[in-house]
Symmetry: C2
Subunit: 225 residues, 2 copies
Amino acid sequence: MDQQIVMKAPLFAALDDETASALVASMTPQSMHRGDVLFSEGDRGDSLYVIITGKVKLGRASGDGRESLIAVLGAGEMFGELSLFDPGPRLTSATVVSETDVIALGNEDLQKFLAEHPAVAMKMLAGLARRLRRTNEGLSDLVFTDVPGRVAKALLDLGTRFGEPSAEGVKVNHDLTQEELAQLVGASRETVNKALADFASRGWLVLGAKAVTILDIDRLRRRAR
Amino acid sequence: MDQQIVMKAPLFAALDDETASALVASMTPQSMHRGDVLFSEGDRGDSLYVIITGKVKLGRASGDGRESLIAVLGAGEMFGELSLFDPGPRLTSATVVSETDVIALGNEDLQKFLAEHPAVAMKMLAGLARRLRRTNEGLSDLVFTDVPGRVAKALLDLGTRFGEPSAEGVKVNHDLTQEELAQLVGASRETVNKALADFASRGWLVLGAKAVTILDIDRLRRRAR
DNA sequence: CACCTACTGTGACCTGCGTCTCAGCCAACA
DNA sequence: TGTTGGCTGAGACGCAGGTCACAGTAGGTG
């Protein structure tokens, strides 16, 4: 299995190769495709996941049909650990966005592992702290920044995480529909569409199928803040 | 010092009395009053705080003068630890909201302490996980819930944390101006004022100086969700 | 290849809430 | 005791963005 990729996850970053590969070997891998659900709100949360390849979205549903996305995660990222540390049902659902391989680690195994490797526990603290900060950031964006600004931010963020330099710009294969993008920035699909169209008409980016190519990253940055 | 109260903080909850009181003794207490700033955005974050009595607000400022509140914390609650686990400047400022006593614990002391008491590290993980969940909750509220609904939620939350049963209802001394309440729910002062006035006119609550008394908690709950 | 379903693009309309403004109120302080 | 400054209450107005409606496009399946 792609040892390399797994090692990027905070869970494993602190480990020497042997320990890490032993741990990875003990975890159960699974392949899934778009639309597959890893877990839903209300499920009992008994394992943590690490993404090998592909992307997964974490979301919450409102009483009526609406949905909002907490995050979109890619290779090397970890999720689902919250209900291990803070026992209780899952408050979020995890859905596969593109062809994805993940490995899962059960609750007891994780507890045992953390007890044996306190350095990893510290890494996890650091990881959670970072996520808390980013989430707080997201909160104030929602208050301070208008929709086009949030769209720009989201694209830049997706760009740094999933973008790859191409002919004339950064190609970002986010694998998200505009609907999902809208749920991610907390706006309606239509408004996001218009923001994207506007950016494109200014030549800041080119729209593609579940992807964008960022041409003028500086303008986009300026629009974001 | 109020040993009892300190022991409520997740940091100490797992400790036996001796260890806890030894630790508390090593921490420097300070008394502050409304408006005092514990730290500001950009400061280098080198200590964590535990509130003995009083309340503290955590906030972020936008480029222009606007401000948004991340949380309002009371006795027994802890803050400022994020920049210890995830090194870097503070991304949030901490300001005293009412007469407050806090104790501070320096970075190195904390690191040492966590290394010696792994059970406490696990408690901290649990604490961060819980906060992350609540913050995610706040995020989706901002998208799904209208301003009056968010005001109702905020009051209920403040109620469970700071409320005390009184003659006819729950008296909530939140110590916040309507301006601060507005920053907490991500809305304008005026809109929050109108929501409060509306709730009061329906007899769900009575407004007081930096306080409310909740009369009909069920109605308020129903309005919140 | 034809059909269907999911997705994107765009305009028209409507509304919740922000902004502006001003008027009372109370506490602090000279 | 009057004055000043922070806080609350409330109306008028405008706009960002939500909702609705529909048209065009592309990928997937028989």
